[in-house]
Amino acid sequence: MPALSILIWLPAACGLLGALLPARLSKDGRERVPGALALFGSLVALALAIGYIADYKAAGPHLQHVTDVVWIAELGIHYKLAITGLNVFLIGLTTLLFAVATLATNLRSGSPPPERPRLFYFHFMLAESAVLGAFAAQDLALFVAFFDLMLIPFYFLTGGWGREPARVKATIKLVIYTLVGSLLMLAAAIATGVLAAQRGGGHITFVLSSLQALPLSTGSQEWIFLFFAAAFLVKMPAFPLHGWMPDGYRAMPIEVLMVFSGILSKVGAYGFLAIVLPLFPRAAAHFQTLMLLIGLASIIYGSLQAFSQRDARLIAGYSSVAQLGFITLGIFALNSQGAQGALLQMVNHGLVVAPLLFIVGLLAQRAGGSEDIRDMGGIAFRAPVLASMFLIVALATLAMPGSSNFVGEFLILLGVFKAKLVIAIIAFSGVVMASVYALRLFIGAMHDRVGKGVHSREISLRDGAVLTPVIAVILFLALYPQLALHRSEASVKSAVVRAEVNARVGSLAAVGSATPISLASARPPDVANPPTNCRRAGTHVVCSYESRLK
């Protein structure tokens, strides 16, 4: 396989090339070259990502296809990229959704193609590169840099090509909310590197694998955890920090919203799994209950809001809040089932929300331009194929047994069941509520009485070409979710194991006074076998591993 940097930077290079080439108008007076170049770049990236997924060895080393170059020696920042079990499917999801969205903008049938296409595709492709870089980064400073960078193209896309009214205001709100969290994360990340170096006695470094070997003191871990959590929770968005979502979702163009909702929220969840849990396990265990409650609140609030919204986009938006709440629950169950379920759900949610939003756009075209579900209704009448596709997506959203979402939610709830029983029971209601809002949207739009101003027509070939790949992947994963689960198993376990130990020790400590184990000073855990047997022995806690001594 070629170097990972090619996958990361190819989209941006194509976008830049498209922006710099002299303008050449096609027959209908529009510039087609930037869009075609962008499509080419995203399709090649997709092919490369599929290659990496196929090439990933589940039993191989933790980091595969590593690129490691010193970027800034003075600050210990490395340009380090790698494929791990955690990011290989998310990278695949990113390239798929961007390819589909680029196809959608190129093939726009119901509305004119984007104005100033050179700038549009430049920003779009830059966004893809930044997101891919954030997933692949194995250096904390590099991750933070990509995380902050990936928002800026969306700022331009929403502000420049968004829908009135108030697109500029919505954009500024969106960016400020997100960057406030991101900047807190920057301070926390720098503190992590400095404090780790001070404790470890060596030169400062931000490489994740080195930082994992230099754990911080509990007090430092706690405030740093909170700053990281702030950044990721805003991104997802989780219940208290979701204020930017309604205006932002209303303002973005549909294709931009497809990738924004499908992928950017996952970077936050991925950050928890890949960075926060391995680096700050004690803090993760300490704040476990708080984070589970936030996840639960997101589920309940998101679902309740999704029931009562009239704007179809916002139904999708609030349902995303609820789904990401489930993902948060899975991550902070702090065991491998929950985390595996969360990772699978990340992929599933992205696969489901992007076509859902695209279909909302198609529905609006058939309902006289309005995205209000009161104006829709009976659209299935002349559009059986569209209705079938929408049904598949809607059933996947509500995690119908048989879909991959069901597997993901099942694993998450299983994990939370083991961790905190009460929260799991309340979270089950989220499953029920999901079916209510998903079916409400489907039935309200496709069946029921035909709305005023509705002119139903079948899905066009162009729109079908956009939807088919994603629905095919949804169906594939529904039949074979084991693909994603099997390959990510080892990475997920190693990401979660320290926090898991700390959480179990913490719950034992509630019984008596005990000292939490510092894993860095102990023998490195056998990642395939997390400790299963912890008991109190005097003032210490002893855990046993089913390890094979070599």
């Binding site: 003075e74 902050d148 400020i176 920057l186 503190a191 400062i204």
Partner: protein
């Protein structure tokens, strides 16, 4: 009388040790100033308008060459009054670059014409020479000489658009406030002399440590007054009140000059004075300056919110940036010195890019420096819009720009030096700053350009007493419409060149910052700090 004559006959005068090689950049600058002044007296208008600025550039180029010639020298020149080392050479480079950008921006400006090119450029070069002295001063007297030599030409330069009320007001305000600052500093220096008995930084440092004067009330009062005086110059809150009015009123090339190079000189002397002379009193001044830095960050960033004049906004933003850079001074470590120097270099690029765009738009449209002047720039003038966008994103600290790396370095220095809360304050300042940088970008890319301000549509305003006359264009937001007797036709290449080069440098060093790191690493090690 023979017995008196003999000692006189045998005694020979021992002059001060003057290392002319080390002094050569300064001589180049001052010589260039004199030459510019003299050439500016010649009769031909062409010579005054073209040859004099070219001469300034040549003088700056000579100073640059001589600075590079002196590279890796570590010595005292002029018998211990000035010190050439990696830090002063690095700061010299920044000052020369800033001066060159200013000469390019002022080439066709109204200010240079009204003030007579010879005088304008002579004052500019003299000010740069003063800054250079300040950055290498090793003696409190040399410090004061440098400060005055830098300030007094600036007072005059601010007032060079003599027929515009705001310019004169700006010059007068700067004169009064600057003099108060200088007087405060001088009083503080005198007290330190009284306490330690020395004017040389090294002697002050040993005096403080040997005689344990670090907590002596006289010393502390002296240090406090010195901090106040230097904070005036560096526009650190609460001594920053003059900055918005003076920056807004002055001609824009002069504002650009002040915003960048004065900070370089002031922070350079902060570094040298506090990390060499007063290092033993670090326990006293460290926390105090840290609190000042935090207040500056907050005041500067909050003050910039909602400003409609871009120059005023950049003035407040520069106050905030001075606060960030003080964090590197506070920690008094090698990392702190290196981080501050790095940020000063990056600060030069970021600010010059935005000021160049403001100058270009002022000359093109009649909207002064209001935010409406840059509306719709993305479509109309991408060569100006991109440098401005890069500059705003870099000032906010967005990755892929050198501003991100600079902030990273400063926060790293703050956390390593034990001032983690100061690192968080820097981050909070960045958050607030998004609120005023993003609207500028939004105006350029997401709004339509204001109609009907091409030069052909405008009537030149009557050159007369200030105040709106019928048919004249309104003076918006206190800006300086650089309307000339000869209206500019389109963009001026030298201004666009400054904008594009500065913007490109910001992106380049954001992706490949290693050359700058190598440069400042040497500078950081000069004081022998931890």
């Amino acid at each position: 009388m023979t017995f008196v004559m003999t000692p006189l006959a045998t005694a020979h005068l021992k002059g001060p040790h003057v290392d002319f090689a080390g002094l050569s950049p300064l001589i180049a600058l001052l010589g260039g100033a004199t030459l510019a002044l003299l050439v500016g007296l010649l009769g031909s208008r062409w010579i005054r308008a073209q040859v004099v600025p070219a001469l300034s550039l040549a003088a700056l180029g000579a100073a640059l060459g001589l600075t590079i010639w002196q590279w890796n020298a570590q010595k005292s020149i002029v018998s211990g009054a000035l010190r050439i080392d990696d830090l002063s050479l690095a700061l010299n480079l920044i000052l020369i670059a800033g001066g060159a950008c200013t000469v390019l921006l002022a080439w066709r400006s109204l200010a240079a014409r009204e003030a007579a090119h010879g005088e304008f450029h002579a004052l500019l070069l003299t000010s740069i020479a003063g800054m250079s002295i300040l950055a290498s001063a090793e003696n409190t007297v040399a410090l004061f000489i440098g400060l005055e030599l830098l300030s007094i030409p600036l007072y005059v330069l601010c007032a060079t658009e003599m027929r515009r009320e705001h310019s004169l007001e700006s010059g007068l305000k700067y004169l009064i406030v600057g003099s108060v600052g200088s007087a405060t500093l001088l009083y503080g220096l005198a007290m330190i002399y009284g306490a330690t008995g020395a004017t040389d930084f090294g002697a002050i440092a040993s005096s403080l440590s040997h005689a344990s004067l670090a907590t002596d009330p006289l010393t502390l009062t002296g240090i406090a007054l010195c901090v106040a005086g230097l904070c005036f110059k560096a526009s650190v809150a609460p001594f920053h009140q003059w900055t918005p009015d003076v920056y807004e009123g002055a001609p824009t090339p002069v504002t650009a000059f002040m915003a960048v190079t004065t900070k370089v000189a002031a922070l350079g002397v902060f570094l040298r004075f506090f990390d060499v002379a007063l290092i033993d009193a670090h326990g006293s001044w460290g926390p105090a300056v840290a609190v000042l830095a935090t207040i500056t960050i907050l005041v500067g960033n909050v003050g910039a919110l909602g400003q409609s004049s871009l120059k005023r906004m950049l003035a407040y933003s520069s106050v905030g940036q001075a606060g960030y850079m003080l964090a590197g001074v506070v920690v008094a470590t090698q990392l702190g010195v290196a981080a501050t120097t790095f940020y000063l270099i990056v600060y030069l690029f970021m600010n010059m890019a935005s000021f160049a765009v403001i100058v270009a738009r002022e000359r093109e449209t009649g909207l002064g420096d209001g935010i409406d002047a840059v509306a719709g720039l993305g479509r109309e003038r991408p060569w100006l819009a991109w440098p401005m966008t890069i500059s705003m994103l870099a000032l906010a600290g967005i990755p892929a720009t050198a501003g991100f790396i600079g902030k990273f370095y400063l926060i790293d220095a703050a956390v390593s030096g034990g001032y983690t809360w100061l690192g968080v304050a820097i981050v909070i300042g960045s958050m607030i700053s998004l609120g005023y940088y993003l609207p500028v970008i939004a105006a350029m890319w997401m709004r339509e350009s204001p109609a009907g301000e091409t030069p052909a549509d405008r009537t030149p305003p009557p050159m007369g007493p200030p105040g709106p006359a019928p048919g004249a264009l309104p003076v918006l937001a206190g800006g300086s419409p650089e309307l000339d007797a000869e209206p500019s036709h389109g963009l001026q290449p030298e201004v666009v060149l400054v904008a594009v080069l500065a913007g490109a440098a910001t992106i380049f060093f954001g992706i490949v910052p290693q050359p700058l790191f190598d440069l400042v690493h040497q500078a950081g090690g000069v004081f022998g700090l931890f």
